[in-house]
Structures are given as C-alpha cells and as structure tokens.
C-alpha cells in the first residue's frame, strides 16, 4: 500500500487512542477532585495537565489551573493539539483521506463521532456533565475499535492501524503511571498512606482495570502489585508488556507479508525481551520514574523506526 496511506492509518490509531486517554485523564481528575484537599503538594488538576503532556500551552491561555478551564482545555480546545476534539478531528480527517482503505462501518464510526462532536460543541457547557463527556468519548473509541475488529480486512493496513493503537497505548499507560508516581505524589513520606492508596485506585479506575486488578491479585492494593499489573502482566490489556506485545505481533505480521524485517522489528523484539525478563523489583531498583522515562523514549524510537521503514516512502 501507499506509504502515505499507511501513515494515515497509523495516525488514526494514535489519535483515537489519545482521545480516549484524554477522556480517561479527565475522569481521573473528576474523581480526585472529590477527595478532601491535602495540602503540601501540587494541585491535582495541574498534575493532570502534566500527565496530558500539554501543560505548556495552558497557562498562556487560561492562567490558573481551575477545573472548568482544564476541562475546556483537555476536551474542547482546538489550540491544544491533544484535546479530545483535536484528536477526534485529526483522526476523522486522516480517515477521510484514506476513506477507501476503511470499511463503511469503520468510517461510519469515526464520522458519526465527528458529527456528534459538533453537536456537543453547540450544547451549552452548563448542560454538559464531565462524566457525560468522558463516557461519550470512551464509547466512541470502543465503537470505532469494534468496527475495525468486526469488519476491517486483515491486511497490512490493519497492522498499521493497530500499530498506532498499541504504540499510543504503551506511551499513555507509561505517562499515567509516571504522573501518579512522580508528579502526584512527589514526597516519599506519603507512600503507603491512605492518599497513596486512593490515587492508585483512581489510576486503576481510569484505565477501567479496577475490578480486573482485584480479580488478578486480590487483597490489598500495593504499589508493587499495581506496578506489576500495569507493566508486566500480559493479561492487562493496557499494560506496557501487552501493548509492546501487540506492536510486535503486528510488526511480525508485516514482516512476514513483505518477506523482510527492518530495524523496527529488531527494536520491538528487544523491548519485548526486556519486559519479559523484568521483575517488578528491578523497576523499583532502577527507580519507577527513570524506568518509565527510558520506556517512553524507547517507544518514541520505535515509532521513528516504523516511520522510516514503512511510512516515510523512503523504503527501497
């Protein structure tokens, strides 16, 4: 297929996943805001901005991080390239460009979301509960993913679409954990306190894995258990290892179809190999933040290699 088409498909996956991540972040914020205030560390809403990776643009436009403004910034604001509206519009525009590489159902899902989004934008903000916005976003991305799963031809286009999803998800889960660990609770004193526990729970809820966690681990929520669940447990669909394994699967599929491997396959195998050998103690030994920073960097390099090998049009 055309490299540009593959590129568009890859970014559709990334944008839809990112929109979902933004909605999940907002949901986390909404829950944390219900917690009685604890003084002595940074505002939770500000930490949300940090987690979204778009903190820089906010103060210029809004000043103080107030809940309402953060909601606007992360959901509706077109000046924020990662807001839900920006992501869904970008996904839909990419989809429109490669309209013919998608099935009618997949196009309907993304185009329908886009049309509904326009209606949401026309609705007075006072009538829009935060929960309604976040639920709506997650429903749309579920619909989109479902349509892909049920109807999309399993060719290389399907692989590039899914590579986008998996890479973005790996990146997002790592960022969410990092914000919990590094930004939200910077003082070691708080580790193991009620606040720490509450934040872990909220994080699990944000990725819809609260109940799954209990099924898998039972008993008390501890940092070690959650870290294991989100980094090393293949049965958690949003864990780092599951995301990297997903990317490896689709890259292998492409390599088999094309009869050639590239540096992208080399890297994803190395990443998967490391995660498979890793123990949770190793993560804490290295330092959670250091580990996650290294991981996010590796995902970035993988993305660049996929670009060079397939999406840039420079393949020979």
């Amino acid at each position: 297929m055309l490299s540009r088409t593959a590129d568009n498909l890859f970014w559709i996956g990334r944008y839809v996943e990112r929109a979902e991540m933004m909605a999940r972040l907002l949901a986390v914020g909404g829950r944390i805001a219900l917690l009685p205030g604890v003084h002595g560390y940074r505002n939770e809403w500000e930490s949300l901005l940090q987690a979204s990776g778009t903190a820089a643009g906010f103060p210029r436009k809004y000043g103080e991080p107030v809940q309402r403004n953060i909601e606007s910034y992360l959901f509706f604001d077109r000046d924020n390239p990662s807001s839900v509206v920006s992501c869904l519009e970008a996904a839909r525009e990419n989809a429109r460009i490669v309209r013919t590489a998608l099935t009618t159902q997949v196009w309907d899902a993304i185009n329908g979301a886009f049309q509904e989004l326009r209606q949401l934008e026309r609705t007075p903000r006072s009538e829009l509960e935060l929960a309604r916005l976040t639920d709506w976003t997650m429903r749309q991305s579920a619909l989109f993913r479902g349509a892909i799963d049920a109807t999309q031809l399993r060719n290389d286009g399907y692989d590039f679409l899914n590579l986008g999803f998996h890479l973005e998800r790996a990146d997002n889960t790592a960022r969410l954990m990092d914000v919990k660990y590094f930004v939200l609770l910077p003082k070691a004193d708080y580790v193991g306190t009620g606040l720490d526990l509450y934040q872990w729970q909220t994080l699990l809820r944000a990725i819809s894995a609260h109940r799954a966690f209990h099924w898998a681990y039972g008993g008390e929520i501890t940092a070690a258990k959650v870290a294991h669940f989100l980094i090393l447990n293949r049965s958690c669909p949003r864990s780092l290892i599951a995301s990297v394994a997903g990317a490896a699967h689709h890259l292998d599929h492409v390599a088999r179809a094309y009869g050639a491997t590239t540096r992208a396959q080399d890297l994803v195998r190395a990443m998967l190999g490391e995660l498979a050998e890793l123990r949770v103690e190793d993560v804490f030994e290295e330092g959670m933040h250091e580990f996650l920073t290294r991981f996010i960097g590796a995902v970035g390099i993988l993305s660049a290699r996929i670009h060079d090998a397939y999406l840039s049009g420079e393949a020979r």
Binding site: M1, L2, A6, I97, R99, V254, E314, A315
Partner: protein, 470 residues
C-alpha cells in the same frame, strides 16, 4: 413570460418518458416525501459526499442538494444524444492530435492560427508528441441543454477533468435504496458499470513500454480539494491507488509510487490536477502538487497522463465555436448536436453587437468555469451591466457571449409539492481503445424559481438521470 419546454408535461398531458412517475409522485404523501428527503440527506452525509466551494468559507462539509424527482430520457432520445456525443469526442481528439502535430486544420484556414497557438491552454511542451492511441482527452464531459422536444444544444465541452461523475453514481445508488419500487416498475438502464469502463479505458492507453497488467492511479491535489470525495470514490470503485504528488517520483524514465514495500511502477496517471501543477520542472516551479520530472517520463513514453497535458486547448470557450467545423473537417460528417450561437468578443463587430445587447445575453469568461465571472443579462441590474461592459471593453478577448437559452424544465420537489425547475445535463464520454458512454449523466437543477444557473457553486442541485431501456 417566456415559454420553456417542460420535460414532463405537454399541456395537461404527461409525456411518455415520465408516464411511470406520474402515479408515484401523485400518490406520495407529503410526510413520506419529507422523510425520504431527510433520509437521502443523512445518507449523503454518512457516505461523506460533500462539496466545498473555493473561497466561500463556511461549512467545508456542505452537501450539494439532491432532488429526488428523476430526470428521464427515452431510449430513442438517448440514441441520438449518444451518437452526437461520441461524434464530438472523436472530433475533439482528432483536433488535439492535429494541432500538436501538423496543424492541418489551421493550414486549411478553418480555424485561426492565433486562437490555437496563442491560446493560454496550448502547451508547447507537448508539441510533436502523440500520446498512446492518439487520445488526448480520455474523459470528455459535454454539457448539454434542451430547449424543445428534439432540440439539444452543446453548452460547452470539458476535455480536461470533468467532475461530477460520482454524483451520477451515488444519486442512482440512493434512489435505488429509497425507492426500489419505481425501479421495478420502470426499466432503467444501469450506470454502475462506469468505474470499470473508466479503468479499462485508462488501462487501454498504457504506454507501449508497459508490460503486463498496467498500474493505473488517480492523482489528486489532496484532501482539501473540493472534489476530493470524487477522487477517492473513483479510486475505490476502480480498485486503484489514489495518490498525491509527493507519493510519486521519477527515476530511470519511469514514474514510481512510494509504497510500504518500496517503489512500484506506475503506467497510467488519471490526473485531477491542472497542467500548470503537473511538473514543477516543466510548468509552475512553485507547484507542490506535482511530480518533478513527470513531463520527461511522459514525453519519453514511460507513463501515460490522462487527460494529456495540453488537452485544454480543445475546451476553450472561444475554440468551442469551431467544434462543428472540426466535425466536418476531420470526420466528414455533419454535427448531430448543435452549438449555441456564440459571439466572440475578440472580433470587433461581434463585440459591438454584444455591447448593444448585453441585457439579453449571457457573457462568459473564455477560461472560466463553475459559473464564476459570468453575466446573465436578463437577470442583472443596470449597474452590473454597465460595470461588465467596462470589463468587456478592457479585455474583449477574454469573453464570449451567447443568447439566454430557454432551458427545459423538469419537475422538482419544492415546499408546496412539485414545480418546474431548469435543468442541464453532463454525460461522461470515455475515449480509449474504444469510445464508450454509459446511459446516464449528471443532471444539474437550478433550485431557485426562475433561475437558469445550475452550477453547484451557485446553489444548484442534482438529480438522478434515467435512460429508459427499449
């Protein structure tokens, strides 16, 4: 009150082609009609057929209004149109081969040399080159209007990249989905073969150097173009890649597209961008839409470009006047379809006549399209006419004038039920190894009461166009 030919009603009687629609429309309750109209609009929006108008801003996802009342031709009416259209397409292509070759028609004094060789659309870059099978214009869109039972006039020829064919196909799809019963009761020739015919036509003009099954692509200016939907729709229906300039590159005398598996050779490019943007090395150096080196590959027979660069010289509105001459000169036949009488403002005596009669004439730019920059005399104010007269005097060679035609009307759904609205017709003739025409075309309708301007950029709508089987 001028008298217009009504395609459905002859006085109180219903004309034969529309007989099958009379009870259908009479028995349709108003609520059902509104429901169906809303359904049609939702379908169009869902499929994503929208139309953006350049420079107007506003909603980039605007729909062209779709009118559910079909426009109908009998088999007999169509046979004559078909013969006339194919005749014209042959003559236009013969003309193009000639004027980029020996120029016999000019030597014979049948058309002024200046009109051809000093024409802005004449590409010296391809002079002396004969494209595969001698075809310059592979898709000829001929705009027709009807003024009476047997009177059809050609309004203009489109030899470059006539658009709108996706509407012909989608209008039919939507009508069949919404009103299957009228398709059972009427015997309507299908149009759905068009994309396959187009693919075959393009494959038939692959360069001689091409071995095996030719790779055909559609070259689009990109997704911001107002006709992007059509480009993408056609690529999908034909099963070919839709490429943008940067997806292609030239090497070793061939054109290649960048794929995830590496370069793949391209044999035929159905381009939907203008000549000027095709190749920055040959035409506009600032073009980001084209492919550097494309024209060299083309001239050395490495790739076919459809329509061929330079084809525009045949659909110039001033050259249009000479198409009947071309038919006589190249084919030795009399034109089956008539031209609209046209005054060339470049000629001083004709300009004088035009200036004296501006209030009754339609004046168009020679190179214009889309209904922009034209004057419709009978519907213009005194000031507008005076202002236009100024422009005419300044650059008369840029304009032609035609009488205001009594365009036929076809019943159209309006608030109160049905009412006559003016229509035109654009069929799409395919020229390759053979000349083909699917039975149908795009009917455009001026939705405003009394209006004669059917362009979608000026508030026109579209209709499904039926040709009845024998």
């Amino acid at each position: 009150m001028q008298d217009y030919f009504n395609e459905m009603f002859d006085g109180g009687a219903v004309r034969a082609p529309y007989a099958g629609l009379e009870t259908w429309v009479r028995e349709m309750p108003a609520e059902l009609r509104q429901m169906k109209q809303a359904e049609a609009e939702a379908l169009f929006r869902r499929i994503g057929i929208t139309f953006a108008v350049y420079g107007e801003g506003g909603d980039p996802d605007r729909l062209i209004p779709f009118d559910m009342f079909p426009r109908v031709f009998t088999a007999g009416e169509w046979r004559r149109l078909e013969r006339g259209i194919k005749q014209r397409a042959r003559a236009l292509n013969a003309f193009l081969v000639d004027v980029y070759g020996r120029g016999e028609i000019v030597r014979a004094g049948r058309i002024p040399a200046a009109l051809v060789y000093q024409n802005e659309a004449y590409e010296t870059a391809v002079a002396g080159f004969v494209p595969p099978r001698g075809v310059y214009s592979h898709i000829v869109g001929i705009d027709l209007v009807r003024t009476g039972r047997d009177e059809f006039f050609v309004l203009e020829d489109n030899c470059r990249t006539p658009s709108g064919v996706s509407y012909m196909l989608e209008n039919r799809e939507i009508m069949m989905r919404m009103f299957p019963e009228i398709f059972r009761e009427n015997r309507i020739e299908p149009v759905e073969g068009y994309p396959e015919l187009l693919r075959r036509t393009l494959a038939s003009v692959a360069p001689e150097k091409c071995q095996g099954e030719p790779t055909v692509v559609i070259l689009t200016p990109g997704h911001y173009n107002s006709a992007y939907y059509e480009h993408s729709f056609l690529a999908d229906m034909m099963g070919v890649e839709l490429v943008e300039g940067p997806d292609l590159f030239c090497e070793g005398g061939f054109v290649w597209m960048r794929t995830t598996r590496g370069p793949q050779k391209v044999d035929v490019i159905y381009r939907r961008i203008d000549d000027a943007f095709l190749d920055p090395l040959c035409f506009r150096p600032d073009s980001m839409l084209g492919v550097p080196g494309l024209m060299d590959c083309y001239r050395s027979g490495g790739v076919t470009i459809a329509s061929a660069p330079g084809a525009g010289v045949a659909d110039d509105k001033a050259v249009y006047t000479y198409v009947p001459e071309m038919i006589r000169f190249y084919l030795g036949e009399e034109p089956i379809l008539q031209n609209v009488p046209t005054w060339q403002c470049a000629k001083p005596d004709e300009l004088a006549h035009v200036l004296d009669n501006l209030a009754d004439l339609v004046v168009k730019e020679v190179h214009g399209s889309g209904g922009y920059g034209m004057l419709v005399g009978p519907r213009a104010t005194k000031d507008q006419i005076a202002a236009f007269a100024e422009k005419l005097r300044e650059a008369p060679e840029h304009y032609i004038a035609q009488p205001t035609l009594s365009l036929s009307t076809c019943p159209t759904f309006v608030e109160e039920g049905i009412a006559p609205r003016h229509v035109d017709l654009r069929p799409y003739c395919l020229v390759g190894e053979r000349i083909e025409l699917v039975p149908g075309g795009l009917t455009r309708v001026a939705l405003t009461e009394g209006s004669l301007v059917v362009n979608s950029s000026q508030g026109g709508g579209v209709k499904d166009t039926w040709v009845l089987a024998e």
